[in-house]
């Protein structure tokens, strides 16, 4: 048994609010460290890529949008494929996830070597997306396989907190590199490449090939301090389910894992609630309009909710372990509903702060918790594919929700659309309350 904190003290030790817990397995911390390092690597590129393409290479925004949208559709398919491959057994989770991490790291070299060639840039961006799609489900499956079932919530909380820390640090690192080098984008790509490789190294060294087996736990990498958050980030990790895809293309595994009624209920509930979410970007836009916020402050809004997410992920996970994961998952969506209702109130700084906090609560209480809720319903050999199906389903549902809200905004204007969204979420929440199995499924 591995005790991460040296004493049995509770999670309120001030200097390390992240990941301080009594029984977080070393593998989970190692996976968290991999995600942290990888997110620094990927978010620093995300932060500078548009600038690089448009200012550095003179690409038109239309072309950029084309590149950006091109591979989103493939991601969902690749995620399902990654889950399926990982479930073939023989410790493939780490191999598949590692291949994904490595591919994303190598894509930075591709950006560097492509110079200005559009084809090269497109290929590098595609490689990054593929890597991201492939690794997500095996990684989450490894978390579920290495943590004891009764502590899954906290394990995911620790992982997501570390992940979000990386997402917050990435743009900051990019800013520092650009500042130090007077806008040398290639230096950003090189640093990102090195950081990405480091993630692969940590995965290879500290994550056992077969996390399901009883582990000889490694002394985990030191849990990092939370990000100081001094720097606007374009979009720090609103949702871990990466990019939505145009159409659900079920891989053959999907029906098999969906045959389990308990898991099916989780997927249906997550999809239902996902379809009633409007997308963070709309929330931020509404906030900005309501407050008449200077546009320069706009990038700071997602930072607020990400910081809140980071701080609350572990406590929410612990709560989920104690109360059953259904409760925080539903309450988290309740927080989102409260955020919608708050936005309907007359705008003011207090409203903005409240909305950001509620959004952070929403992610903390639902994101990792959903994985912890679903995993026990899945067979060990179907973990990765099951989680992939769940994540893909949720991402597609959110895409539908955002599109629906956009249409409602166009038809009725922002406030009626928001009221409708709140109503839809309330209905979905009620339905999910009934659909989700009670305590027994944990």
């Amino acid at each position: 048994m591995m005790y991460l904190a040296t004493t049995g003290r509770r999670s309120d030790a001030p200097p390390r609010p992240v990941g301080v817990g009594r029984r977080v397995p070393g593998t989970v911390v190692a996976l968290g460290a991999v995600s942290l390092v990888t997110d620094i690597s990927s978010e620093m590129v995300t932060a500078v890529l548009p600038l690089y393409l448009v200012l550095g290479l003179g690409l038109s925004p239309l072309q950029f949008g084309f590149f950006d949208g091109l591979f989103n559709g493939a991601t969902a398919l690749v995620r399902l494929l990654g889950g399926r491959l990982a479930d073939r057994g023989g410790g493939r989770h780490r191999t598949v996830a590692g291949a994904g991490y490595l591919l994303s790291a190598l894509s930075r070299l591709g950006l560097l070597l492509a110079g200005g060639a559009a084809g090269g840039i497109a290929a590098a961006m595609a490689a990054d997306r593929l890597g991201k799609g492939v690794r997500t489900a095996p990684r989450d499956a490894m978390i579920t396989l290495s943590a004891p079932p009764e502590a899954l919530g906290r394990a995911f909380g620790v992982h997501r907190a570390m992940d979000t820390t990386g997402a917050l640090l990435g743009p900051l690192v990019a800013f520092l590199v650009l500042w130090a080098t007077a806008d040398a984008y290639d230096a950003v790509f090189v640093v990102s490449f090195a950081t990405g490789l480091l993630g692969v190294v940590v995965l290879g060294l500290f994550v056992p090939a077969d996390p399901g087996a009883p582990t000889t736990l490694v002394r985990p990498t030191r849990v990092p301090k939370p990000a100081p958050v001094p720097k606007p980030a374009p979009s720090p990790k609103p949702a871990p389910v990466p990019k939505p895809a145009p159409s659900p293309k079920p891989v053959r595994t999907a029906p098999r894992v969906l045959a389990d009624p308990a898991f099916r209920r989780v997927v249906v509930a997550a999809a239902l609630l996902g379809a009633a979410t409007i997308g963070d970007s709309f929330l931020y836009l509404l906030l900005q309009r309501g407050l008449d916020l200077p546009a320069a402050l706009f990038p700071l809004l997602p930072l607020g909710s990400a910081a809140c997410y980071l701080l609350l992920a572990v406590p929410a996970g612990r709560l989920a372990d104690r109360s059953g994961r259904r409760i925080p998952f539903l309450l988290g969506h309740g927080a989102l509903l409260a955020a919608y209702l708050t936005l309907l109130a007359p705008a003011g700084p207090a409203v903005a702060v409240l909305v950001l906090v509620l959004l952070g609560v929403f992610y903390a209480a639902t994101d990792g918790v959903l994985m912890a809720l679903a995993a026990p319903a899945l067979p060990v050999r179907g973990r990765a594919s099951g989680l992939a199906v769940l994540q893909t389903g949720q991402a597609l549902a959110r895409l539908v929700g955002a599109a629906g809200f956009g249409a409602a905004w166009t038809w009725w204007g922002p406030r009626p659309a928001l009221a409708a969204a709140a109503l839809a979420l309330a209905v979905a929440l009620t339905a999910a309350w009934r659909i989700l199995p009670g305590r027994k499924a944990r």
């Binding site: 548009p50 990498t221 970007s281």
Partner: protein, 324 residues
């Protein structure tokens, strides 16, 4: 266990050490071009074709070709005023819009988020407008959206974003979250303006009224409108192909009867064309095999053939002799 820690330390040293080395190397080498001001000898008093010189990033004048003007990513001048957009270093992207008089004395400086895109000055020089690409803004995460500002020098009033101007499409008042404006340019009365509005995947030409603060669409599929000096026609780029590499063609629209005709230029132009005079348009096109652009011109009536005006240039604008 111990060997693993050793391996990790080694990996950190090699990878982060290598990265640090590269950063230091890049620092030595020097990054992007520095932003410089205009030389004292460089003014708008001399008539000619002003443009941005790709090699130096500075404003230059033809004939002469001396790039002694300020560093600008986009440049335009009319009346007694010039507008220069420059990208500030670092991330997130910010644009500095600088208003100059004819001697390139700085009159006003505004910093807005985004990457420089379009700049225009009303014929009188009194109303200025510019567009930036805002990154990571809003509804389409990762996509670009635009942000267009209007600066009225008569009152000093700055509209940081025109996005919330009441818009009428057809006969109905229109709302949407994904409304983007770009390429605003003002008519001689310093009140009426034309621009592109994009929403729901379509673009429209809008006619706006600054005083009344309203806008209505005139026509679909019009981007980057440019009003002719006589105020009767609008040059614009029209999306003619789904090919993302070459989607546009330059057209001219007659405002009296809303009839349009294509120009002789068949290559895809991603620029807000500039009227050199009432019969000629100039625009930038990517130079063959390099990152630079060249300025070409073609007759506005659709006749003739395009001709290369200035190699290694963009943001062309005709400055007539001083009107005094």
């Amino acid at each position: 266990m111990k060997s693993r820690s050793t391996a990790l330390v080694l990996a950190v040293l090699v990878l982060l050490g290598g990265a640090l080395g590269y950063v230091l190397h890049a620092r030595e080498r020097g990054g992007g071009p520095q932003l410089v001001a205009a030389e004292a000898s460089f003014t708008l008093e001399e008539p000619g074709l002003y443009y941005r010189d790709t090699a130096t990033g500075r404003v230059a004048r033809s004939p002469g070709g001396v790039a002694d003007g300020p560093s600008c990513a986009r440049f335009y001048a009319a009346g007694d005023r010039a507008l220069c957009l420059r990208a500030l270093p670092g991330t997130p992207a910010r644009t500095e819009a600088v208003v100059y008089d004819r001697r390139f004395t700085e009159l006003r400086k505004v910093t807005v988020p985004g990457i420089p895109n379009r700049a225009r000055v009303s014929p009188s020089g009194q109303v200025l407008s510019w567009t930036t690409f805002a990154v990571g803004d809003s509804y389409a995460a990762g996509r670009f959206s635009t942000r267009t500002s209007v600066l009225d020098l008569r009152t000093g009033y700055l509209i940081k974003s025109v996005e919330e101007i009441p818009l009428t499409i057809g006969d109905t008042r229109y709302h949407a979250a994904d409304i983007n404006y770009w390429g605003v340019n003002f008519a001689a009365d310093d009140n009426r303006f034309y621009a592109t509005v994009s929403t729901g995947g379509r673009t429209h030409l809008v006619e706006g009224d600054l005083k009344a603060w309203s806008a209505r669409t005139l026509r679909e599929n019009v981007e980057c409108p440019s009003l002719s000096p006589d105020g009767t026609r609008i040059a614009f780029k029209k999306k003619v192909s789904a090919d993302p590499v070459a989607p546009w063609r330059l057209y001219v629209l007659d405002l009296a009867d809303l009839r349009e005709h294509p120009l002789a230029e068949t290559r895809s132009v991603d620029d807000q064309a500039a009227w050199l005079d009432d019969g000629t348009l100039a625009y930038a096109l990517p130079a063959h095999g390099s990152k630079a652009t060249d300025v070409w011109s073609t007759p506005a009536d659709g006749s003739g053939t395009p001709s290369l005006v200035l190699p290694g240039a963009s943001s062309p604008v005709t400055v007539p002799p001083a009107s005094r």
